[in-house]
Symmetry: C2
Subunit: 199 residues, 2 copies
């Protein structure tokens, strides 16, 4: 069965973006190396260091589907109908954006209006044996609280941001213990850490 | 010249304690191993895993002085006059606790009333070539903002706390970039990471 993994670049103090959704230094590691990685988005080519490139290739080659929220979908305009990592996307939303759907009839996007649990189930069907990635923020928090996450993959960036949008945010429950990292890869301006979640 | 290092156990989401100052699972790694480490506090013996024990011994053997705030000093009642790590303590405070000082005439505690910068300078004098540790929270944030830190040493604990007291908290300035970790030691329920600070 597919794994469900919450993943994001995160500052040492736990932020995945500034309050205005800009990313400051969080994505520096995606452009500071010699290894060119093309993406499915026109005009976006990554330039990773060797260690991060290996980590990235493994991560993206395992990906089967992505679950995101409506805010990110709207912010990116649905990545123009094709996600940067060329993976099917399940969007958690209150209402289906019918105009967008009509304008992108072939886009591998699904819209789920009955909650995160249902969206993850849909993404699992799409992903088969491959990984379901869920975006950090509200979606990751809800998945963590519902016990839906298998792993938390943090690209830990050596910066103190002081404030911003947290990876998980305030939980409705007590502490959630994770396991010790099963992966720890040191890149250039990033440490890739993967923590298992007890389910 | 001595290094100034901010150090604490921290959850993956950036907290060093709960809002009520309790520590949840943050100190589990100090008691889950086979290596007995005595401390200067009566009744407190640590039990560390092998990797953490080696890290801890190096850390404590390098320590020359500790800078903390008045809140922690009061919370611990000045560790009874002798810090757990048997190191001189410089307390940043608005007023000297004269009763406590009279009751502990031989305690290696100094009280500095003119700010963190002055407290760090005093701690440097005491520490000589050895490390000055500053506690996480307000003191660490002020040191970071004043450019006084050489390193940030995080004992990263695999737990999501959701809320609590942050390692640094909100900065009065923009992002502060750190260097990639110069130390990464995997323990049991902890990853010891040391980040240099550009000064």
């Amino acid at each position: 069965m597919s794994k469900v993994i919450a993943s994001a670049s995160m500052s040492l103090d736990g932020y995945i973006a500034k309050d205005d959704n800009s990313i400051g230094r969080l994505f520096d590691w995606l452009q500071n190396g010699d290894v060119e990685i093309p993406t499915a988005s026109p005009g976006i080519t990554l330039h990773l260091g060797q260690a991060s490139a290996e980590y990235w290739r493994r991560w993206t080659s395992d990906l089967g589907a992505l679950v995101c929220g409506r805010t990110l979908f709207d912010f990116t305009d649905g990545w123009g109908g094709r996600h940067t990592m060329d993976v099917p996307v399940v969007v958690v939303t209150h209402s289906v954006p019918t105009e967008w759907v009509d304008a992108h009839p072939d886009a591998p996007f699904s819209f789920v209006t009955d909650g995160v649990g249902s969206a993850v189930a849909r993404a699992r069907e799409i992903a088969g044996d491959r990984v379901v990635a869920v975006t950090a923020g509200t979606i990751a928090r809800q998945c963590l609280e519902l016990g839906l996450l298998d792993e938390v993959a943090v690209d830990l960036v050596p910066v103190v941001m002081g404030r911003g949008r947290p990876f998980f945010g305030e939980l409705a429950q007590d502490d959630v213990p994770l396991g010790d990292p099963v992966t720890c890869v040191q890149g250039d301006r990033v440490t890739h850490l993967v923590f298992p979640v007890a389910r």
